[in-house]
């Protein structure tokens, strides 16, 4: 992308585990295995603040598992990671969200039998009325109106305001993706992790989704996302991290990654290109547990 010369990542060497000038998220020695299968084995990763980092890799590379681990939805056998300089590796998922690191899901989790506006308002943190005894009083009403206003602004920004009073279950797949992203923003995160934001989205909506993602970065947020579609990745990311078989095999700007032979190997498989190539035993080619 044209912007890459101006990003702080221009001078960073395209080497797996390379240090970044101002990392917001740093992971060390994260290892997650399911039985005998190692799904994630990341030695070191730093995510630069205020950028869009894409996490790519073939099916079963461990991208989503890594996502789940970092966001507290899965627990690794070992490893630690810090967010904004603080160790969050033993925190439950909701506390990680509280710290400002919010995620979305590959299979969208719209709260189907709740209104779109309720979905949004749920996202606000520090709500007085969420405490049992406070809920019985009226002290939360003023705050509730502020939250509603903020939710409305976000819905307008994501062009969902006309659906505010509908059930989230009545939305289309793409609208749910948008809702989930907007809802995540209600938490006011400094880092947002999007798990396959484009999966199952009507192509007509893809462009608008992409604009929202770049909009998040331009608003000062850090974005990490998992994606399969290489065009999408090359188009909007500032930095690309490629995983294969649980490890990070390459890092770099989209241009550098596009030319990296290790990435091409991981995606296309060397065995198809070279006659007489024998499969190494440890490369079973299995999926890392499916759906991850």
């Amino acid at each position: 992308m044209a912007s890459e010369t101006t990003t702080p990542l221009a001078d960073v060497a395209p080497v797996p585990g390379v240090a970044k000038p101002d990392p917001i998220l740093v992971a060390d020695g994260v290892r997650r295995s399911f039985g005998g299968l190692t799904a994630v084995d990341v030695d070191h990763l730093e995510v630069q603040r205020g950028t869009i980092t894409a996490l790519i890799g073939p099916n079963g590379a461990g991208k989503s598992t890594f996502f789940n681990v970092l966001s507290g939805f899965d627990h690794p056998q070992r490893g630690r990671w810090t967010f904004e300089g603080q160790d969050i590796s033993r925190l439950p998922s909701h506390k990680i969200a509280h710290r400002g690191m919010v995620r979305t899901f590959q299979l969208t989790k719209a709260l189907a039998r709740m209104r779109v506006m309720e979905n949004m308002m749920l996202g606000a943190t520090g709500q007085r009325g969420e405490r049992f005894f406070q809920a019985l009083l009226t002290g939360w009403r003023a705050q509730e109106e502020q939250i509603r206003e903020r939710a409305h602004e976000l819905l307008v920004r994501f062009q969902l305001d006309h659906m505010a009073d509908e059930y989230a279950g009545e939305m289309s797949g793409g609208q749910r993706k948008l809702l989930e992203m907007a809802r995540g923003l209600m938490v006011e995160p400094s880092l947002i992790m999007l798990d396959e934001p484009m999966a199952g989205v009507n192509p007509a909506l893809t462009q608008s989704l992409l604009e929202h993602v770049t909009g998040l970065r331009d608003a000062g947020m850090t974005v990490v996302f998992v994606e399969h579609d290489m065009d999408v990745v090359m188009g909007i990311s500032d930095w690309v991290v490629c995983m294969a078989e649980g490890r990070i095999i390459a890092e770099g700007t989209p241009d550098q990654i596009g030319k990296d032979p290790a990435v091409i190997d991981a995606y296309l498989g060397t065995q198809h290109d070279e006659p007489g190539y024998t499969r190494p035993v440890d490369r079973s080619g299995n999926d890392d547990g499916g759906g991850s």
């Binding site: 966001s71 507290g72 939805f73 439950p92 998922s93 909701h94 506390k95 969200a97 509280h98 919010v102 995620r103 979305t104 899901f105 989790k109 719209a110 709260l111 189907a112 039998r113 709740m114 309720e118 308002m121 749920l122 996202g123 943190t125 709500q127 007085r128 009325g129 969420e130 405490r131 049992f132 406070q134 809920a135 019985l136 939360w140 509730e144 059930y167 279950g169 009545e170 809802r183 995540g184 209600m186 938490v187």
Partner: protein, 329 residues
């Protein structure tokens, strides 16, 4: 015509009677669990049981005052909620279902067991623990009402108190569910992970819901035995929970007035069918295949049939939202 009036009167009396009010209370609690939080509690009767026996044992066995019995009964329900909730709330929903139904049965067998007889009265139960409740009855002794709706001052007193409690519980739950607290609880029902990803402590909210619903179940149990001034363990069979579910689904799960309306309709139907069968039987008009068999269970068979028809033609119940129920997850 006479027969129909009698049957109708009997059904209506039952629909507004103390039993319907007790079931309404229990169903309000179950609505908090199942309707709003999505927790499958198959042992609501267990909460009723510990509430009832907490009161009865405190007063009848230990000679404590009635108010202390009330507190003990409610605390017992809270304790049971914590005990059942804590290990299961981090697991999948079915574990809570299995745990609650098993716990309710274990409690029933414990209470009727021989070693516990000194404490619980065993199969004979306990009596006379609600005298203080009757002593504070402000209604002058006598008979009130008309026709089938005639109550003694004692019956009227517990009837009024139980329905008032059911209304207050409805109001409490309505207020909670419309607050941000209720929003979080409903989001847990929809998708726990989504709630977590937005920074909500799902475990804590589930525990709060279990305690609140269990507390209302305990209160239902207390009012159940207070009305009759006697407690008997065989009144706490698992079917009580399933009647409560029927009531909840009939009225509409996750609706505010559903439990109350459901309880009224349920008891109207059960008693109406029962009275009708008895009347027809006395008049010798029963079809041959029904003559000489126990008519008691038939009403429940018919209730089951009614519930099936309801699920087919009106799955959202009387007051549930059709739109809401049609939304797949």
């Amino acid at each position: 015509m006479d027969l129909l009036t009698a049957v109708f009167g009997h059904a209506l009396r039952s629909a507004l009677g103390p039993e319907a009010a007790v079931y309404a209370l229990a169903a309000i609690g179950l609505n908090v669990h199942y309707g709003y939080t999505g927790l499958l509690n198959f042992g609501q009767v267990g909460f009723m049981l510990v509430g009832a026996y907490g009161l009865a044992i405190t007063v009848s066995t230990f000679g404590g005052p009635f108010w202390l019995g009330l507190i003990v009964g409610l605390l017992a329900a809270v304790l049971l909620a914590l005990l059942l909730g804590y290990p299961t709330m981090r697991l999948r929903a079915d574990y809570f279902a299995i745990t609650t139904i098993a716990a309710a049965e274990i409690l029933r067998f414990l209470i009727r067991s021989r070693p516990a007889t000194d404490l619980t009265g065993g199969v004979f139960g306990l009596q006379g623990f609600a005298r203080a409740f009757r002593d504070i009855n402000p209604i002058t002794p006598g008979r009130y009402g008309f026709g089938v709706f005639t109550y003694t001052h004692i019956g009227l007193w517990s009837l009024l108190v139980t329905w008032t409690l059911a209304l207050l519980a409805t109001l409490l739950v309505w207020k909670l569910i419309r607050s941000p607290w209720g929003r979080v609880v409903r989001s847990v029902r929809e998708d726990e992970d989504a709630a977590r990803s937005l920074g909500k402590d799902v475990f804590s909210y589930k525990m709060q819901s279990v305690v609140l619903g269990g507390l209302l179940g305990g209160l239902a149990g207390i009012m159940f035995v207070t009305a009759s001034n006697a407690v008997e363990v065989q009144a706490f069979l698992p079917q009580v929970t399933f009647f409560t579910y029927t009531i909840l689904i009939l009225g509409g799960a996750a609706s505010t007035v559903g439990p109350i309306v459901g309880a009224i309709i349920f008891w109207f139907l059960v008693s109406g069918i029962d009275a009708y069968l008895r009347a027809v039987s006395q008049a010798g008009l029963l079809p041959d295949f029904l003559v000489g068999i126990n008519l008691g269970p038939i009403r429940f068979a018919l209730v089951g049939l009614g519930l099936m028809l309801l699920m087919i033609f009106r799955p959202q119940g009387m007051f549930g939202s059709k739109r809401e129920i049609s939304l797949g997850l």
